[in-house]
């Protein structure tokens, strides 16, 4: 088996396309309801809290904390075999939304729930940038 398998590339929907367009420019943007001020994620056509269709794509600080994380020790996809073991986390952003991401620049044994992290835009394949996260002080 080859170890140079292509990584899964995000396939945006009509609703999520602006998220990925922002990421490509090195910005983390999610929707914020114009009526109740809530940040919401994943991308949607209405604010899930008040069903408002008025929202904006707000730029975030990119800072948050680790709400939980797991460490992959087993490969589920050929593109990630070389990366094992790697940590995948749910990050709670300062603005309140929770995102899945992969952690970089830290040994998997050093990751802790509650640890502060910051976004690190990383080109994982030609033309594909992902909002990975790394520890911050």
């Amino acid at each position: 088996m080859t170890t140079t398998a292509a990584p899964p590339i995000p396939q945006p929907t009509v609703e999520s396309a602006p998220f990925w367009e922002a990421v490509a420019k090195g910005e983390l943007r999610i929707q914020r309801c114009a009526r109740d001020g809530d940040f919401f994620f994943p991308p949607a056509s209405r604010c899930p809290r008040d069903w408002s269709t008025e929202w904006t794509w707000e730029k975030l600080s990119g800072r948050g904390t680790i709400r939980s994380f797991v460490v992959f020790q087993r490969s589920y996809h050929p593109a990630f075999r070389e990366a094992l073991p790697y940590a995948v986390a749910i990050v709670e952003l300062e603005e309140g939304a929770r995102l899945v991401t992969r952690l970089i620049d830290i040994a998997v044994t050093d990751v802790r729930v509650g640890m502060p992290v910051a976004v690190a835009f990383t080109e994982v394949a030609e033309g594909t940038t992902l909002p990975l996260f790394r520890p911050s002080r």
């Binding site: 899964p8 396939q11 087993r74 589920y76 996809h77 995948v88 899945v100």
Partner: protein, 395 residues
């Protein structure tokens, strides 16, 4: 909370009168449908009923097919008054029983066969790529963003997020999760049809191959080819049939549809509200339950549900399991056929069958829980957010 008065009206008015299962394990030459048809035929036979008596079919749809209930009816040669497939993940099996009760109560049908079958072992061993992905989700239904691009794959990781947070919040340990795996294995060793029946030590549990930490291999349920089915009818009719009826005393559902990551859903699951509804319909509480069959896709889910159902305080699931409570001679014998962790994972279907066996009370002595007049069963699934609860009692 919905109106408990309305739910109470259904208490003990319907019963499970037949149970059946297929072969369990590696079953070459089988399909999800052929296994399910075997289990359903066995359940109808166990009830002492004939094919002509069955006028309802409720099944969860399989992962990859449409109109499943129609295929079942065609194979069984039954035109049904009421027939449907439903979609609630691992919570579907109890939901099928609940829907059967509702359909009979509404006068739509009289005798419903409910079941689920899956050829999980065969499907995860068909090719090297399948063995690696171990995914039963059809490619076109798999997540295409906010997951795989970060290396996030599979149900193991989703539940491991919950386990990790529970460990961080409450000090839950690997050994406490191991106590779940060990207790259920002891039960599987006494069940001749369980797929995994080898003795298991804590040392073996702790040193098993790591999968997605904090889970190792023995935190994960066992994929098998297997099916189970039950027959539901009215209590009046049940009293005329072969077995002492197993009363459907309470059921409840709840769905944390806003997601596994939302609120505290990873550590206080939908079992909480689903259980409250089942208790309210049954007029029972945790102290009345003699044994449980909890949805054990992963060890951690048992700990969370023990707390959510009120068998111990939030955060105390680990110490409760480690005390030996889940063993046959413990305070709350759990997953007495070996559970999905050892008997085999059929999305909770086999746990309903085991609850009926316990309530009937005719198991060999070493498999019979000391108090089995009221048994609670749980179902959990979808994208880890759907939950159903069922309380069965000796009529």
């Amino acid at each position: 909370m919905t109106d408990p008065e309305r739910a109470r009206r259904l208490r003990d008015r319907y019963a499970i009168v037949g149970i059946g299962q297929s072969a369990i394990g590696k079953v070459p030459g089988s399909s999800a449908l052929s296994l399910l048809v075997d289990a359903m035929a066995n359940a109808v036979e166990d009830a002492g009923l004939r094919k002509e008596d069955v006028d309802g079919i409720v099944s969860r749809g399989p992962d990859e097919a449409y109109t499943h209930h129609q295929l079942i009816g065609q194979r069984l040669g039954i035109d049904a008054e009421f027939s449907t497939t439903l979609d609630n993940g691992g919570a579907s099996q109890i939901l099928s029983v609940a829907l059967a009760v509702m359909a009979i109560d509404a006068g739509l049908c009289d005798v419903v066969v409910c079941g689920y079958g899956r050829d999980s072992w065969s499907r995860t061993h068909r090719s090297e790529a399948k063995r690696e992905s171990v995914s039963l989700v059809p490619e076109e239904q798999a997540a295409k963003e906010f997951g795989p691009e970060f290396g996030l794959f599979g149900a193991t990781a989703m539940h491991a997020f919950g386990a990790r947070r529970h460990m961080a919040l409450y000090g839950t340990t690997q050994e406490q999760m191991g106590a779940v795996a060990l207790a259920f294995r002891e039960h599987a060793m006494r069940n001749p049809s369980a797929y995994i029946r080898d003795p298991l030590t804590m040392e073996q549990y702790l040193t098993a191959r790591r999968i997605v930490e904090p889970f190792g291999l023995l935190d994960c349920s066992v994929p098998v080819d297997a099916a189970g089915a039950v027959v539901v009818t009215s209590m009046e009719r049940a009293k005329t049939l072969r077995h002492r009826p197993t009363a459907i005393t309470g059921f409840g559902t709840f769905n944390n549809l806003r997601g596994w990551y939302a609120d505290d859903h990873m550590t206080t699951t939908a079992a909480c509200k689903s259980g409250q509804k089942a208790y309210a319909m049954a007029g029972l509480g945790p102290k009345d339950i003699g044994a449980v069959q909890l949805y054990d896709c992963f060890t951690y889910m048992v700990l969370a549900q023990l707390e959510d159902y009120g068998f111990c305080a939030k955060g105390e699931g680990g110490p409760f399991a480690a005390s030996g409570a889940l063993r046959m001679d413990g305070a709350l014998p759990a997953n007495t056929s070996g559970g999905q962790l050892s008997e085999g994972h059929v999305e909770g279907m086999l746990q309903i069958l085991e609850a009926v066996r316990q309530v009937r009370g005719d198991l060999p002595r070493e498999r019979q829980a000391p108090r089995s007049d009221a048994v609670l069963v749980s179902g959990h699934g979808g994208h880890t957010v759907c939950h159903s609860s069922l309380i069965l009692t000796r009529a």
